[in-house]
C-alpha cells in the first residue's frame, strides 16, 4: 500500500518536471542547436539537419556546428545596442510602473473590506480585452492628431501637437499601461497583509504618519516591490508587440531584432543566438527573484 502511494506521489511530483522537459527544455535545446548551425538556402533554412536515420553520419554532421552566429552577435554593435536599449527601456518602464502602481495598490489595500474585491476586479479588468487591441488603442490616443493632442490643444496647454507616437516615450507609456496589473497585485498583497496595529504602534512611539510610512509600510512592502518589478522588467525586455506598434523606426528592442532576423532575413541561427543570449541575460534577474522569494518564506 505504501509503495503504491509513493508511486502515485512520484507521478504527481513528476508531472511538472515532464511538462518542463517537453515544453521548455526540449524546445530550448532545439533553439540552442539551431543557434550553433549555419544559415543555408534550404528547407529548413539552416545546416546541418539531423534526421533519425543518420546513424554514424550524425557524428560527422556534429563537426559542422559552430559558434559563428554568436561571433556574429559579438561583431556587430547593433546587437549589443539592441540589448542595452531593451534593458534601458525595460528599466525606465519598470520604474514608472512602480511609481504609478504603488499609490494605486496602497489605496486598494487601505480601502474598506467591502470595496477591496471590487477594486481588485477593476485592476485586472483590462485583461478581459485583447492585449493587441489595447495597444492599438494607444495609437489613436498618442498620434499627432490623436485624443491626447486634441485634448491638450483645445485646453490651450500646448500650441502644437506633441510627437509622442512612434518614439521610445510611446513604448514606455505602452509598457507601463500594459504591465500595470502585474505590479499592482504583488504590491497590494504586500501592503494589505501588514497588520494595521504596526502603524498604530509606530504612531504611539512618536512617528508621524509620514515617518511611519517610510519606516514601516515601505520596508515591509519590499517583497512586493521586488516581485512586481521583476514581473514587469523580465517580460518588458523581450517585448515585441509594444515597440512594434508604438515605437519609432529607431526604437531598438531585442524582440524586434529577433523578429527581423527570423522573418525578414530568414537567418534562423542568428535569431536563435539572439534568443539564447536574451535568456542568459534574464536568468540573472530571475535567480534574484527566486532568492528573494526564498528569503521571504519563513524558515
Amino acid at each position: 500500500m505504501k509503495a503504491r502511494r509513493s508511486l502515485a506521489e512520484r507521478l504527481v511530483l513528476g508531472a511538472p518536471w515532464v511538462w518542463l522537459l517537453v515544453f521548455f527544455l526540449i524546445p530550448f535545446l532545439i533553439v540552442v542547436k539551431i543557434s550553433l548551425s549555419q544559415a543555408a538556402l534550404a528547407q529548413p533554412p539552416y545546416a546541418p539537419v539531423f534526421a533519425l536515420g543518420d546513424g554514424w553520419e550524425a557524428l560527422e554532421k556534429l563537426k559542422e556546428l559552430s559558434l559563428a552566429a554568436y561571433a556574429g552577435l559579438a561583431d556587430d554593435w547593433l546587437y549589443a545596442e539592441a540589448y542595452l536599449s531593451s534593458l534601458r527601456l525595460a528599466a525606465v518602464s519598470t520604474a514608472f510602473t512602480l511609481a504609478v502602481a504603488y499609490p494605486l495598490a496602497y489605496a486598494m489595500a487601505r480601502a474598506s473590506h467591502r470595496w477591496r474585491p471590487i477594486l481588485l476586479v477593476l485592476a485586472i479588468a483590462p485583461f478581459w480585452t485583447s492585449f493587441l487591441i489595447r495597444v492599438y488603442a494607444w495609437i489613436t490616443i498618442l498620434k499627432d492628431e490623436g485624443l491626447l493632442n486634441h485634448a491638450l490643444l483645445s485646453l490651450g496647454l500646448i500650441s502644437e501637437p506633441l510627437h509622442i507616437f512612434a518614439s521610445d516615450e510611446a513604448v514606455v507609456i505602452g509598457i507601463v499601461y500594459s504591465y500595470l496589473p502585474f505590479m499592482v497585485l504583488p504590491l497590494y498583497n504586500a501592503i494589505a497583509r501588514q497588520p494595521p496595529d504596526l502603524l498604530e504602534a509606530a504612531a504611539d512611539l512618536g512617528a508621524s504618519p509620514t515617518a511611519a510610512f517610510w519606516r514601516i509600510t515601505a520596508p515591509l512592502s519590499a517583497p512586493g516591490v521586488v516581485a512586481g518589478c521583476l514581473l514587469v522588467f523580465i517580460p518588458a525586455i523581450g517585448e515585441f508587440v509594444i515597440p512594434d506598434l508604438l515605437g519609432g523606426s529607431d526604437t531598438l528592442m531585442i524582440g524586434r531584432t529577433l523578429w527581423i532576423e527570423f522573418f525578414d532575413n530568414r537567418d534562423w541561427p542568428t535569431a536563435s543566438a539572439v534568443a539564447v543570449v536574451l535568456l542568459a541575460l534574464l536568468v540573472v534577474p530571475m535567480a534574484f527573484y527566486e532568492r528573494s522569494q526564498m528569503a521571504e518564506t519563513p524558515s
Binding site: D197, L198, E200, A201, A202, D204, L205, G206, A207, I216
Partner: protein
Amino acid sequence: MSAAPLITFEHVTKRYGAVTAVDDVSLEIGAGEFFALLGPSGCGKTTLMRLIAGFETPDAGRILIDGRDMADMPPHARPVNMMFQSYALFPHMDVARNIGFGLAQAGQPKAAIAARVAELLRLVQLEGLGARKPDQLSGGQRQRVALARALARKPRLVLLDEPLAALDRKLREETQFELMRLQRELGTAFMLVTHDQDEAMVMAHRIAVMRAGRIEQLGAPRAIYEVPASRFVAGFIGEVNLFEGVVARVEDGLAFVRLNGLNALVCAAVEGAVGASVTLAVRPERMLLELVRDEGLPGVVLDSAYRGDTQVARVRLANGSLVRIARFGAALMPERGAAVRVSFAPDAARVLPA
C-alpha cells in the same frame, strides 16, 4: 492619589454607530498608580484605553493628561505609550531597533539610544538578544520586547492591553510579579486592560470594573471583592452565592431574612427595612458546611472538586438553588450525595441592590 491627577476623563462618551462603547465616563488616574480596567469583552475597556492613546476621539467630554486637553493631540504627540495585545513588534527590525524606535523618532543621538536600549534589555532580562528578529523569539521574550519598547521613552503612563493573554499559565504568573516589580521601581503609572479578574486583583492598586460602557465600580481590589456594589461586580470578581429574600425583622443591627422558596431565616449584619426585598451575597470561602448540626440550610452535595490548595463543593438546596463552598487546606469535604447543612456568619453577607 496625588492632588493633580495624571489622567482625567470628564464625561467622556464614544459611540460606534448605534453602539455606545464608552458612556459618560468620568475618571481620574494618579501619577505612579497601577490602575486596572476590568470587564468582559465588549464592555468598552479597550475603547477607553484607545481614547487615552489617541487612536479614537471622544464624541463628547474631555480627556486631560497632566491637565492638558488631548482633543487635538495626535497619538504620536501624547506622553503615553502602549503595549499592544498582539505586541505589534516591527518584523523587519531587530530587538534593539524595535526598542529604540521611539527614541530614534524623538531624534535622540545614536549613542544615547544604544545606552538606553542596553538598559532596557537588562531591565526586562533580554541581555544579548538585541540582534534577534522578533520571529526568532519565544512568546514570553516577544512580550518583554513589547514592554521594553513601551517603556523606552519614559512615558507618563504605560497602557497594557491584555499583556499576559498570549502567555501560558505559569509564565503569566511570573510576569504578573515582574510587571509589579517594574511598576514599583520605575514609578511610572501603568494602566492594565484585562478581562481576567485574577490579573487585575493581583497587580492593580485600583480597579475600575466596566460594563456596557460604564464604570460599575471603582476601588481597591479588596474593597471591590469584599463590598461589591452590584450583582454584576460580585459575579464578575470571584465566585459568589446569592440568596434572595425578604427582611423579616431587625434586631441589634442584624437583619433576619426569610429566603425565597425556603422556610428558613438567615441572619446578616446588613442594613434593611422590615419587609424589604434583599439579595445577600456570600463568597464561597465564607460559607460554612457541616454534616451534623441541625441549624443552617439543608442541602445535598452535588459534586466536589479537589484543587490541591483549595477544595470546592456545590450543594443543592431545597429550593433548587446551588451554593458553592470553598475550603482551604486539606480538610476533607463531604462526599457526593451527602446530606449537609450550609450556613454563614452574619458578617459574611453583603446586600446587593436588586
